[in-house]
């Protein structure tokens, strides 16, 4: 096979991967072209990852594979998994694998020069992956690196390997806008070096910003493919349309509710970790009945700590929490039933927040039993109704958490909290890590809750301005300080604080798909 620009480096033809007779990938054709970014788009479980790994010649255990994988030459394929930490050996320093990758490339040299040459190769790869201070970095262990650094180390490995194709699996999932944009920038740089990038993502903004060619997958099949612009402007397939539609901004609540006595007040809150490290200062925050407030910030900005303080999960703080003007005990251990019921919290990771041994329905119902004194039967009925309302059929709810998807579990978690009939519902990153369609569903539920008008107040913790649009008001947190606070429209359209501005700009850029 010749190496023209249009000659694919790897080509999949009619790939079909089956496990236990069920097709995970069914008849996928894919051409990976040098210097181009090919994106595989689809909801979770649509077969993106399996397709991506097929490019590396890897298949799930027990899979039967048919179709063809054609590769031009023997150039290795690099891989950046969704969680770069998983492929970094926790017990070895960063250097270990890099050295091992470099070693064969210097084998032709005299023994004495090898070490030096290998080191040079490693350093260059790290530099190419935009990792400064490489020498120090090599001596670290993976857990001493930030998430971004980990990702770049994995990228450096692929570059060092001389990969002509790099498969990046959900590289931006759960990242805030600033981080996302940096990742996009990085992958664009990689593509610019003539390397083919295969992007597996459900983050359409990132796909739009980065991809040349897009394949939309659903249930293992490619439902539509084409250049990104064509797809965005004129999607042909119904599913593509739904995907793209869901991406559109959430409805905004125009007016702030702001009147009357706040249901929840925070006064002079200073939260610490390890008894000394101050991680959050919030002098004055108030939440009014029926109001939805979004707390926005990057990772590590202290927004989760704030939420956990409110929920009584983080009691290591000074200052006062007032529920209807009366002090709320810091720790939920000291809150009585009505106080517990009044402030409910929904966890980011729904799967981890459920007992994996009991049926979901039962667990949801317990809230009513414990916090409202309902009897078992009534509680179950109510739980079933609530779950149904949130789009979770009873048949599914009667299964254990393991049988439910992340989105379904998140709905169940919401139902569990709602069964307490809370005054305040705190949602901590409930949509991060979900694909667009699922996320859309959850956001709709939340919007519905606020709109119902029974004075339920919402606190949305998010790094995602898109989600924040749902709120009446937005509070922006940076490095443990509330840097900006105001009505959603105002903050989004006229950000004051430089940090907010930066956040806004990158988000917009990603959305519009402006090349970086």
């Amino acid at each position: 096979m010749s190496r023209g620009t249009d000659t694919p480096l790897v080509e999949l033809r009619e790939l079909r991967v089956e496990i236990d007779g069920r097709a995970i990938v069914d008849g996928v054709d894919l051409r990976v072209l040098p210097g181009k970014v090919t994106a595989l788009v689809g909801a979770s479980g649509s077969g993106k990852t399996t397709t991506g790994l097929a490019l590396l010649g890897e298949y799930p255990p027990g899979a039967s594979v048919s179709g063809e994988v054609l590769r031009a030459g023997s150039e290795p394929v690099g891989y950046i998994p969704q969680h770069p930490a998983a492929v970094l050996n926790p017990a070895r320093r960063v250097r270990a694998l890099l050295d091992d990758i470099a070693r064969p490339q210097v084998r032709h040299l005299p023994r004495a020069e090898r070490r030096q040459a290998a080191r040079a190769l490693v350093l260059r790869a790290l530099e190419d992956a935009q990792l400064p201070d490489a020498e120090a970095l090599l001596r670290r262990h993976p857990h001493q690196l930030s998430g971004g650094q980990q990702q770049r180390v994995v990228l450096a490995q692929a570059l060092l390997l001389g990969a002509r194709v790099i498969v990046a699996d959900e590289p931006t999932t759960g990242q805030d806008a600033l981080t996302k944009s940096r990742i996009v920038e990085q992958l664009a740089a990689v593509a610019a070096r003539g390397i083919a990038v295969v992007l597996l993502s459900h983050d359409l903004d990132v796909v739009h910003a980065l991809a040349d060619e897009v394949l939309v997958m659903r249930e293992g099949r490619v439902v539509e493919s084409g250049p990104v612009e064509r797809l965005w402007t004129a999607p042909r397939h119904e599913w593509t349309r739904r995907l793209l539609d869901d991406r559109r901004a959430a409805p905004q609540h125009g007016t702030a509710v702001g009147a009357g006595r706040p249901v929840l007040e925070v006064r002079d809150l200073t939260a610490v970790h390890d008894r000394r490290t101050v991680v959050l200062r919030a002098s004055d925050l108030a939440l009014h009945p029926g109001e939805c407030v979004a707390v926005v910030g990057r990772s590590g900005s202290g927004k989760t700590t704030l939420a956990r303080c409110l929920a009584g999960l983080h009691s290591d703080h000074d200052g006062e929490l007032l529920l209807d003007g009366t002090p709320l005990p810091r720790s939920l251990r000291h809150r009585d039933r009505s106080q517990l019921a009044a402030v409910q919290y929904v966890f980011q990771d729904a799967r981890a927040a459920f007992d994996e041994h009991r049926p979901v329905l039962h667990q949801v119902a317990r809230t009513a039993v414990r916090l409202r004194g309902a009897d078992e039967r009534a509680a179950t009925a109510e739980a079933s109704a609530t779950l149904n309302r949130l789009g979770l059929p009873e048949a599914l709810a009667q299964r254990r958490p393991g049988a439910l998807s992340g989105g379904e579990l998140q709905r169940a978690a919401l139902a569990r909290a709602l069964l307490a009939r809370p005054r305040v519902l705190i949602c901590d990153e409930v949509t991060s890590g979900l694909d667009t369609v699922t996320r859309r569903g959850i956001l709709d539920v939340l919007a519905g809750l606020v709109g119902e008008g029974d004075d339920l107040s919402l606190v949305l913790i998010t790094h995602d301005l898109d989600t924040a649009r749902l709120a009446h008001r937005i509070a922006v947190l940076d490095a443990g300080e509330v840097v900006e606070q105001g009505p959603t429209r105002k903050v989004l359209t006229d950000p004051r604080h430089p940090f907010t501005t930066a956040l806004m700009r990158t988000t917009e850029r990603l959305e519009t798909g402006t090349p970086l």
Binding site: P60, D274, R337, R351, A353, R366, A403, G406, R416
Partner: protein, 308 residues
């Protein structure tokens, strides 16, 4: 994956077979033992004695029938007792937020851990000269620190999961959280540990018997038989070989059984969106949330160790 299960079942069956003989002998033997019959000269072969006579001229087969019960019951009782103490201690210290309470519960166990177990058994045994029940208690005591650590670690992991916070959020009682969730989550670890612990306990019980602790030196007890009859190994090997094989079969079978029963399996999940599917069939992400301040904890680390 199917092959894996097949081997699991096969190992299970194997374990069951291996353990069945000694267990049946131990539990049912006394029912069939009958009258001891007259004593003969010690260490003889043949005659009326199928397996010969032992060091005081008793019928070896008769002793074998009688001798399993103490070993098995003592070991089982000791293991159960160890967990009876270890599990509550572990659960309380895993769930408490009062650091001092945890220290109070776990530190004394550390001290106990620093005393060589055999030495402790020997000393305490010579002070109190316990019977079989006492020996079980003693062996249990020796096992408490280690068991507590392992359960504590497993429980600690479960206790640090958001599920516990969610349960608290629901106003669940301490008991329900501790037993219903945390305890249950630690169950698997506990069961796997129990298999190995039972082997260790059997070893301790039989070695203690060998050292003359807890059982009368002429008791019908497999471990005692191995020890006391070994002087006659050259003349009458059966009095040693049969009980020794039974002990080995018991420990080995138990271990095989537990290994097979609690070997980590790939839990098939329907549509697990978080789990990358390729080539990582065995991967289960560990959701190690550390709600608490990270603390260097000898405990969490030491627990890897168990008596060889």
């Amino acid at each position: 994956m199917t092959t894996y299960h097949v081997t699991t079942y096969r190992r299970f069956a194997l374990g069951l077979t291996v353990v069945a003989v000694p267990l049946a002998l131990a539990l049912l033997g006394p029912l069939f033992a009958g009258d001891p019959g007259p004593r003969a000269v010690s260490f003889t072969l043949g005659g009326d004695h199928w397996l010969g006579t032992d060091f005081v001229g008793r019928d070896v087969w008769h002793q074998v029938l009688l001798g399993g019960r103490t070993v098995v019951l003592t070991a089982l009782a000791a293991t159960a007792l160890a967990y009876l103490v270890a599990v509550p201690v572990a659960l309380v210290s895993a769930l408490t937020r009062v650091r001092r309470l945890e220290e109070l519960l776990m530190r004394p166990l550390d001290v106990l851990l620093a005393v060589p177990s055999l030495l402790l058994i020997l000393l305490v045994a010579s002070v109190f000269s316990p019977g079989a029940a006492g020996l079980a208690l003693l062996v249990a005591l020796v096992n408490v620190p280690d068991a507590a650590r392992i359960v504590r670690a497993a429980a600690g992991e479960a206790a640090a999961r958001p599920a516990v916070e969610a349960l608290r959020m629901q106003g669940e009682s301490w008991w329900r959280i501790a037993v219903g969730y945390v305890g249950r989550s630690a169950l698997r670890t506990l069961a796997a540990d129990a298999g190995i612990r039972l082997t260790g306990v059997l070893y301790l019980v039989s070695t203690a018997a060998f050292l003359g602790v807890g059982v009368a030196p002429d008791a019908a007890d497999w471990a005692v038989m191995v020890d006391r009859n070994r002087t006659g190994l050259m003349v009458q090997p059966w009095a040693v070989v049969v009980p020794a094989l039974l002990i080995v079969a018991l420990t080995m079978g138990t271990n095989l059984l537990f290994d097979a029963a609690f070997a980590p399996r790939v839990v098939p999940r329907v549509a697990p969106p978080e789990v990358p599917r390729g080539g990582v069939g065995r991967l289960r992400p560990r959701w190690g949330w550390s709600r608490r301040s990270p603390r260097p904890q000898g405990g969490a680390l030491r627990k890897g160790g168990r008596q060889p």
